[in-house]
């Protein structure tokens, strides 16, 4: 009975929102509006701002080209998390591009997965990529592999694939943890051209040190748009940049408030709504 008395009944904020979610929703809404504006502009043929060159993504085609010249496979690891991880979803867009390139140049494409859901999706993406390039017969389902759902068993299995199949190019883009350096260094010892990318900040230094190219944080999310070279998709990346500009302005405002009036909690209170 006491427990029930101690509970305060939850109430909606502004009639419809749950507590502490107004600003979060406003940010999503704002991003949605920015993307809608830029996508509409791109669809009506108007110019949208360019996005900067990303060396790691420019190198994707170069890596496939090198593997083609050497007659060796391209391997791709989309991190170790499941499909509910945004980084894994970002990696799927890149896989689609790489698989198409491999199908076009008749290069073997190896996808190594640690989670069964991305495995099932990647198999379908790769099959579709080969189909769209007019080479469905070249697709080998055994080249999309589920190795293990356990982190270090997966790492060991990847090392085994590196040793046996000897890929000429290795791409590791997605959510990585302690296995990042083991995989990147093994690839580096084997002389592979490597592109690493993650938004997990603690693993980024490892990719920067051990890979030829590193995609840092948000660059992996921009990858599928960047590689598609479509104005509509580029518009979504520019929308992202507009939101970052607003966040930057809030940070500057917060810094000024914290410096000029240290006790003022107005901005912090507003952001916690």
């Amino acid at each position: 009975m006491m427990w029930f008395l101690a509970q305060e009944e939850a109430k909606p904020v502004l009639g419809i929102f749950s507590e502490g979610s107004i600003v979060d929703f406003a940010v999503v809404l704002l991003l949605g509006i920015f993307i809608w504006i830029l996508v509409s502009r791109a669809r009506s043929g108007k110019k949208i701002p360019d996005i900067k060159k990303i060396a790691g993504l420019e190198a994707v085609d170069e890596a496939v080209g090198r593997a083609t010249e050497m007659g060796r496979p391209v391997s791709f690891i989309p991190g170790i998390n499941s499909i509910d991880e945004p980084q894994t979803l970002a990696a799927l867009g890149i896989i689609s591009h790489v698989a198409r390139q491999c199908a076009r140049y008749d290069t073997r494409f190896l996808a190594l997965t640690c989670d069964p859901l991305p495995y099932a999706v990647i198999e379908e993406i790769t099959r579709q990529a080969y189909l769209e390039e007019g080479r469905p017969d070249a697709f080998n389902p055994d080249d999309v592999r589920f190795l293990s759902a356990e982190q270090f068993a997966f790492t060991g299995a990847c090392i085994d694939v590196f040793e046996r199949e000897r890929p000429a190019a290795n791409m590791m883009i997605g959510s990585f943890y302690a296995e990042s350096l083991i995989l990147a260094e093994t690839g580096s010892f084997q002389g592979m051209i490597q592109i690493g990318g993650t938004a997990n900040t603690h693993q980024l230094p490892f990719f920067v040190a051990a890979c030829d190219y590193a995609l840092i944080g948000e660059e992996i999310y921009a990858a599928s748009a960047y590689l598609s070279k479509e104005p509509v998709m580029n518009g979504t990346v520019v929308g992202q940049d507009w939101l970052k500009l607003i966040i930057w302005l809030v940070i500057v405002a917060g810094t000024i408030v914290a410096t000029v009036a240290p006790g003022n909690a107005f901005l912090a209170g507003l952001l916690s709504k």
Partner: protein
Amino acid sequence: MRKEGPMIVTVLSSLVVVFSQYFFLGQQWDLMTPLNNWFQLSYAIALALGFVNLSAIHWKYIQRKREGWFYSIVLLLCMYGYLILGMIEKHTGVHFSWIYDNMYVPLGSAIFSLVAFFITSAAYRAFRVRTKEATILLVLALFVMLGRAPIGDAIWSGWSSFVNTWVMGTLNMAGMRAILIGAYVGAFATALRIMLGLERAHIGGTGTQ
């Protein structure tokens, strides 16, 4: 319909998540619980697919007597043996837990321990003084290493405090948070692209519309 069906499921699921996350009624109706249950169910089905894939690949290795085919036999025996043991004993079974704790865990730790050696080789390459940036990296790395080891404080009593508060807490933290903010915005944008149907790689499309 092969593409439209998954697209409709994606959009509806996304709307349920948004509704449950931000709106009061969504939280009251607890729509996320059935959605999470469906996710677990999909995972179990996909795990069975992965199991079949692993079996098929290693069975082929054995049939073709590929180099190292003996290890494929070991893998299949372990995989099916452990599966059968798990079905008999359930996941709390004594033998099932013993095998995991005394075989898998030490093997996993052995692979994890390789990180220590790989850090050395990666650090050697990263810190080779070839460019201005590598020199700055090397100098800062020396500062951090001295700050984290007792010898730093023995040289100068404020060393660890300098490293922890300024180098790690100010320089490093500012950079990390900048990357994180960008990554979160990027994740939002990716989610919106998928919700709006602009990005279709997850349903076997070519990645874009």
